[in-house]
């Protein structure tokens, strides 16, 4: 018999017609556990895998049916699905088109998970008092994850960008499958021996309930609980919770989030440093202004008003201070400092107190200085100022020389 060559589409359509011609496949009822559940964000269609111990089948439930499901669907849920079997010809994918879904109790994994969770909770492994704060400025972070996944790249990128001061110790472990929990436990033992590790991040990227299952291992959970170093768990996505998340000191929703929690942000720190620098400058300016104000007060503002203005202008100039300006500013401040002391010395020389201290006195009447004997009259009350005090006197006799 001669074989006719057909297109892929023709082939898929033919197999589809075969399947759809079987009436038994048009109305089936299948029991299994939901896995890899995804709710498509725009269409509202549900995509998931229905599985039991030995086999699995791809399933889709269109949004025309999903709204009739009276419960929230989650991975690990045991359900009975009624629908039809067909082929999605674009992908050649044989699948179950679900039309209704009934809950058939929790799946085995979910039961095991809840049992372990309750047990450890009763033992106090999750208690808030046991949680330690993370080191604010860590110098070394140990990262336990697969060295081939996206998680390790995300964590490295974020820590390098946010806080390159911190060194990283990569600890490659298996995060999925039979050997995963053991591999992580062995690695933790090695990291616990190290003295310079400040924080541990343990985790992996997203996956199905089965993919994340190693993080629900009891021995691993206890090992994390015993850690001498604060631990951040970062398993899967925001909606994934594992036993490790509950025993860790901090739970991060994703590996990237863990990296953000582990180190401070460089830019925020640079801002803080900058504000300290401005505060140093402002404090110094204030000190000079206060010193200046004291001088001004002493000489009623005549001699020093000019440098004070000069200094005000200076403050404006350096409002937006740059590092390279700091040195020139310092020179100006020192120059001003010298000027202040020069002025003070001149003031000192001019001061009447200097003259008085040599034995001369200043004479006032009603607060006005008396400069001539002609200004005096007999019986007038005057005040004599000496270097260490003053006296009130009454004129008894006047002798004018001119």
């Amino acid at each position: 018999m001669e074989v006719t060559t057909v297109s892929v589409k023709q082939l898929n359509l033919y197999v589809k017609s075969l399947i759809e011609s079987d009436a038994r496949l048009l109305n089936v009822s299948v029991a299994g556990e939901i896995s890899n559940y995804k709710n498509h964000y725009s269409s509202g269609h549900w995509y998931f895998t229905l599985k039991d111990n030995d086999a699995q089948i791809r399933c889709v439930m269109f949004s025309t049916y999903t709204f009739k499901v009276p419960f929230k669907v989650e991975d690990g849920m045991r359900v009975v699905i009624r629908g039809r079997v067909s082929i999605y010809e674009r992908d050649g994918q044989y699948q179950l088109y679900a039309e209704s879904m009934e809950s058939a109790g929790e799946g085995d994994l979910a039961v095991a998970f809840n049992k372990l969770k309750e047990k450890l909770q009763r033992e106090g492994l999750f208690s808030v008092e046991e949680k330690r704060p993370l080191k604010k400025f860590p110098e070394k972070i140990a990262v336990l994850t697969s060295d081939t996944g996206a998680a390790v790249r995300d964590i490295l990128n974020i820590i390098s960008n946010r806080y390159p001061v911190c060194d990283i110790l990569l600890c490659p472990v298996s995060v999925q499958g039979e050997s995963a929990a053991g591999s992580m436990i062995d690695m933790l033992d090695r990291v616990y021996e190290l003295e310079d590790v400040d924080t541990i991040i343990i985790g992996r990227g997203g996956g199905s309930l089965e993919d994340l299952w190693a993080f629900n291992n009891e021995t691993l959970a206890r090992k994390i609980y015993e850690s001498p170093i604060p631990v951040i768990s970062a398993v899967g996505h925001e909606t994934d919770f594992t036993i490790c998340d509950f025993v860790a000191d901090v739970r991060a929703s994703t590996p990237s989030h863990a990296a953000e929690l582990a180190v401070p942000d460089k830019n925020a720190l640079l801002n803080t440093i900058f504000s300290y620098r401005s505060s140093l400058l402002n404090s110094l300016l204030l000190k000079y202004k206060m010193a200046n104000a004291k001088y001004e007060l002493a000489v009623s503002g005549t001699l020093l008003s000019a440098p004070y203005k000069y200094f005000d202008n200076l403050a404006l100039k350096i409002d937006n201070i740059e590092e390279k300006n700091l040195n020139s500013f310092k020179n100006v401040v020192f120059a001003f400092d010298k000027r202040l002391s020069d002025v003070a010395a001149r003031l000192d020389a001019l001061s009447p107190l200097k003259t008085i201290s040599r034995g001369f006195a200043a004479v006032n009447s009603n607060g006005k200085p008396i400069k001539s004997a002609n200004e005096l009259s007999v019986g007038q009350e005057i005040n004599i100022r000496l270097s260490d005090g003053d006296a009130d006197c009454k004129i008894t006799k006047i002798r004018c020389e001119k």
Partner: protein, 69 residues
């Protein structure tokens, strides 16, 4: 990491202390200049640590020999 070298945390907290001290009133002008210089020096040190940090990435291997990237 050598022990003599200040960590970023130490440098930052020293900068904070100096900044607070300079704010307080009982610092003489002379002292203020000194604190100011020290503070500016520290602030430079801190930003340098952040901007020119040489991050070290090591890897634990089965041979127990650290690899340096």
């Amino acid at each position: 990491m050598s022990t003599e070298k200040k960590t970023f945390e130490e440098a930052l907290s020293e900068l904070e202390k100096i900044s607070k001290k300079l704010e307080s009133e009982d610092v003489t002008l002379e002292n203020a200049i000194e604190l100011f210089e020290k503070g500016v020096e520290l602030s430079k040190e801190c930003s340098n640590m952040l901007t020119s940090a040489k991050q070290k990435i090591e890897k634990i291997t089965d041979m127990e020999q650290p690899l340096y990237d």
